[in-house]
């Protein structure tokens, strides 16, 4: 792993060994193979197909992963698929990140990129096919050489054998590469899997990440590089008028300061990161705030509230019955009404944004980045620098988390890096570094949301009328993906998890957009990050109004004969059973349940909390049940559930980005306190056995965590929490 991740080292070692066989897909999606030197296949200027699997003359197999690794396990997951089909020895398979190339598309979005919990779902067949094709070619080559039928050859741990003959893959690379890959290679039957579904397959990135050897973009240093930080407007939409550098000149290592060509800030160049940070502190800039957003959070909340009161702009459920359903819900003899508010949230991945742009000898560029969206970053950098796209190479590194932040339709930090590169003359490599303060004040937040619901319970104890109004700032409107997500004015991400709820509910849903110059972005689980909370707290409130147990009430709104609803019910029952739902709890403890389907994956969670003598809440345990179809790497799935639960809990407990007169109030982690180890509950994850196709796991663990906690706190204290974060709304944590 460590050597193969380093591209230069990799190329050298392969070059010395000679021939490499590569199997991949061409531009039209067909399997293709060739015999080549690795240098050619990794360059984005080469042929029309790109390798997914490479086999060197020494038998080393390298899986080229098209999805970057931000911790979600792609280097392990995609490698598992190839290793399974090729019958490789797990410890010996190497991994390399794919270069930026149009053929490495994410089949879910038609361009190269990672997000939406799609990596495994869209790679499952592709990587298996590439592995199976490679194995088949090697077997055919061996059969020819040995004069036996292909069926007489077995493969185990990367070794071919037949009778008394055995050979490593390397021996047949040359011959196999001359064969044509099967159009549709025969894939293994699931009953023969030895790696897919194996309970504990060691992560491919563990060794590098526990010894300090894993290389992140933050660690890149290239010759003659200058470091740059950017002084930005404290308010969104502020434009640079002028700036004064004189004090910065006394900082050792200060090189220069230049206005960014778009007047969005001052680029401060220095010979080290620290010198740039220090010099930036002494530069004084004057901003034109005439177009800036100068509102504070209280004003924004008032605007959200006014929009909730007004008639919704869009009739999402399109039945023209909103007023009628709302009146029926309000008039029911048993009813529930509640308003919900969700704050702005920063992603705050552990590694702040960073990008290195390095000029190459032939007038091209090398972009060093933990790149999540090459499909946008690559053309964006080409457009700004006027360097032809084919002369730009993106080198992908491990990314120190993302949670949505690095997948930016505007490629915001790459744009800054490219502008800073140009402003210095375009001849010297620049490394743009964001500090944590830049990160928290930098926008692209999870939008604020407000929800109002009125629910009427019928004579049968089920929901008879459910009317809901949502107010949200659209993530997709005005962006490059608008046409995929916005239909008839409704940004689906504003209503996902509500409009498509798997529950059988007589629902009428209205939506009103909130407009603001502040950039917003998807944040782990996108709209589900708030709709899961709203829906599942409401279901709990409705169950109580109906006088029903929360699990039984939910089941009563699911038709288990329907596949989708059956899977929802399945995880609900599994989580309830594993958590001992219905068993007695001692005084001062409470249990709450929530479920949510997102990204094709079904998750239910039970939270258990206890109160100390001062009424402060401890989260003792979360029991989680997940149905993500075929579980390729069960331990990675458990890790993603644990991580998403922790990330979600931290946010609902105490995180929010607030503004005062347009300026973000949270400076650094002490004001945007991350979840800490002492807050972390015990987490017990159960994976539903399944042979359905795999769905994503990076995000779906998050939506049920907040409402399960809220429902548990209600059970323990009688307090309903419909405004977040909890610590700003009367809840203390121990």
């Amino acid at each position: 792993m460590t050597t193969s991740m380093n591209r230069r080292g990799f190329l050298k070692s392969v070059g010395a060994l000679g021939v490499t066989m590569v199997v991949g897909f061409n531009a039209s999606g067909a399997l293709a193979a060739s015999k080549t030197a690795a240098g050619d296949v990794l360059s984005n200027t080469s042929a029309d197909f790109n390798p997914f699997v490479k086999i060197d003359a020494d038998g080393t197999v390298t899986v080229v992963v098209k999805h970057f690794e931000m911790g979600q396990g792609t280097t392990t997951g995609l490698t598992t698929l190839v290793a399974e089909e090729m019958d490789l020895a797990w410890d010996e398979v190497k991994v390399a990140f794919a270069p930026s190339h149009k053929n490495y598309i994410n089949l879910a979005f038609g361009g190269q990129g990672t997000g939406g919990s799609t990596a495994m779902a869209n790679s499952f067949m592709q990587y298996r096919q590439a592995g199976a094709a490679a194995r088949d070619m090697l077997v055919r080559a061996a059969a020819e050489a040995w004069g036996v039928e292909a069926s007489a050859i077995t493969v185990k741990d990367g070794v071919l054998s037949s009778g008394d003959k055995t050979a490593g893959f390397g021996e047949f690379v040359n011959a196999a590469a001359k064969l044509t890959p099967a159009k549709e290679p025969v894939l293994k039957d699931a009953s023969k899997f030895t790696l897919i579904g194996k309970d504990k397959l060691p992560r491919k990135d563990s060794a590098a990440k526990t010894t300090g050897k894993a290389v992140f973009a933050m660690d890149v240093k290239v010759p003659n590089m200058v470091y740059v930080t950017i002084l930005r407007s404290p308010k969104f939409g502020g434009v640079l008028k002028s700036f004064e550098v004189s004090d910065a000149k006394s900082v050792t290592g200060f090189v220069d300061a230049k206005a960014l060509p778009n007047m969005a800030g001052v680029a401060v160049y220095a010979t080290s990161t620290w010198a740039s940070i220090k010099a930036r502190r002494s530069i004084k800039a004057v901003w034109d705030d005439s177009k800036a957003d100068s509102r504070g959070t209280p004003e924004m909340l008032k605007e959200y509230a006014a929009k909730l009161d007004a008639e919704p702009t869009y009739d999402v459920t399109k039945k023209g019955d909103f007023a009628k359903v709302e009146a029926a819900a309000k008039g029911a003899s048993k009813s529930v009404s509640a308003d919900f508010f969700f704050p702005l949230l920063a992603h705050a991945p552990m590694e702040p944004m960073v990008c290195v742009i390095e000029p190459t000898e032939g007038g091209g560029l090398k972009v060093h980045d933990g790149c999540q969206f090459p499909m946008i970053t690559h053309p964006t950098i080409a457009a700004i620098t006027k360097v032809p796209a084919e002369k730009i190479d993106i080198v992908t590194y491990y990314a120190g988390g993302s949670f949505g932040r690095r997948a930016n339709p505007q490629s915001d930090y790459h744009v800054e890096a490219a502008l800073a590169f140009l402003a210095l003359g375009g001849k010297k490599a620049v490394k743009l570094v964001w500090t944590r303060e830049d990160d928290l004040a930098g926008g692209f937040y999870r939008p604020m949301f407000a929800q109002r619901a009125h629910i009427g319970i019928g004579e049968d104890g089920k929901v008879a009328a459910w009317a809901q109004r949502s107010v949200a700032q659209s993530i997709f409107k005005g962006g490059p993906m608008e046409s995929f997500v916005v239909k008839d004015g409704v940004d689906h991400s504003s209503v996902e998890g509500i409009s498509d709820t798997p529950y059988q509910l007589p629902m009428s849903l209205g939506l009103t957009d909130y407009e603001s110059p502040m950039p917003v972005l998807w944040w782990r689980s996108v709209g589900h990050s708030q709709s899961g909370y709203t829906m599942e707290v409401l279901m709990d409130m409705a169950a109580e109004a109906a006088g029903k147990d929360p699990v039984a009430f939910r089941l009563a709104h699911l038709d288990e004969s329907d596949e989708d609803q059956g899977r929802v019910a399945g995880v609900l029952k599994l989580a309830a059973e594993k958590a001992g739902w219905g068993t007695d709890l001692p005084e001062g403890k409470g249990r709450g349940i929530a479920l949510h389907k997102s990204f094709g994956t079904y998750v239910a969670e039970v939270a258990e909390v206890s109160l100390n003598d001062k009424g402060a809440v401890s989260i003792d345990k979360i029991t989680c049940a997940v149905d993500c179809g075929t579980a390729v790497n069960p331990d990675v799935i458990r890790a993603q559930m644990e991580g998403a639960i922790g990330y979600g809990l931290g946010a609902v407990m105490r995180n929010q980005i607030t503004m005062k007169e347009g300026v973000v109030e949270q400076g650094n982690f002490p004001q945007y306190e991350p979840l800490r180890i002492a807050d972390m509950p015990v987490i017990d994850v159960h994976i539903m056995p399944s042979d359905k196709k795999p769905s994503g796991v990076g995000e779906p663990g998050l939506p049920p965590a907040g409402p399960a906690l809220a429902n548990a706190i209600y059970a323990a204290t009688g307090k309903r929490i419909t405004k977040l974060p909890m610590t700003s709304n009367g809840i203390k944590f121990a």
């Binding site: 060691p202 991580g643 998403a644 650094n668 509950p681």
Partner: protein, 153 residues
């Protein structure tokens, strides 16, 4: 100014202003990039190194204040505690993005060097300054117990 640093068993000469945080000298000058930058204000622990064997946040330590102290970074963590922690981390696959993990590991080594058999509460108290945005905490706790077992064996 020219400063002498005892780091990872060597004496190194670096050019830096005295107020430069040790973190940036380690990363940018000495190119030991296993030690990470996460906040710069001693609130995340990504920059944790050992000073005379004790975990310290290198992002707020001016390089001029190090003097004769011995600095150890993840690249040179080789004590029995270090080996046990790394082995346990790998056995339980603690890491996700990995960016906080050098710091987590340096803190965990410090904890086990002082307290060979910490309880959950002691782990939580000692490790609370090491943030992990991927929330790998559940496994960090388990891995520290596992490292403690490895050391005992």
């Amino acid at each position: 100014m020219s400063i002498q640093l005892k780091i990872n068993g060597e004496t190194r000469q670096v050019e830096a202003d005295g107020d430069t945080p040790l973190l940036w000298v380690i990363r940018d000058e000495l190119e030991l990039t296993g030690t990470k930058f996460g906040c710069g204000v001693a609130s995340c622990g990504a920059c944790t190194v050992h000073l005379n064997g004790k975990p310290q946040r290198s992002c707020i330590l001016p390089v001029s204040a190090i003097g004769e102290s011995e600095v150890t970074t993840i690249e040179s963590a080789t004590t029995p505690q270090a080996k046990a922690v790394q082995a346990a981390w790998q056995e339980l696959d603690v890491v996700q993005c990995g960016y906080c993990q050098s710091g987590q590991i340096m803190s965990a080594i410090g904890l086990l060097s002082d307290n060979a058999k910490p309880t959950d509460n002691e782990i939580d108290a000692f490790m609370n300054g090491n943030a992990c945005r991927c929330a790998t905490y559940h496994r960090i706790r388990a891995a520290i117990h596992r490292a403690s077992e490895i050391l005992e064996a």
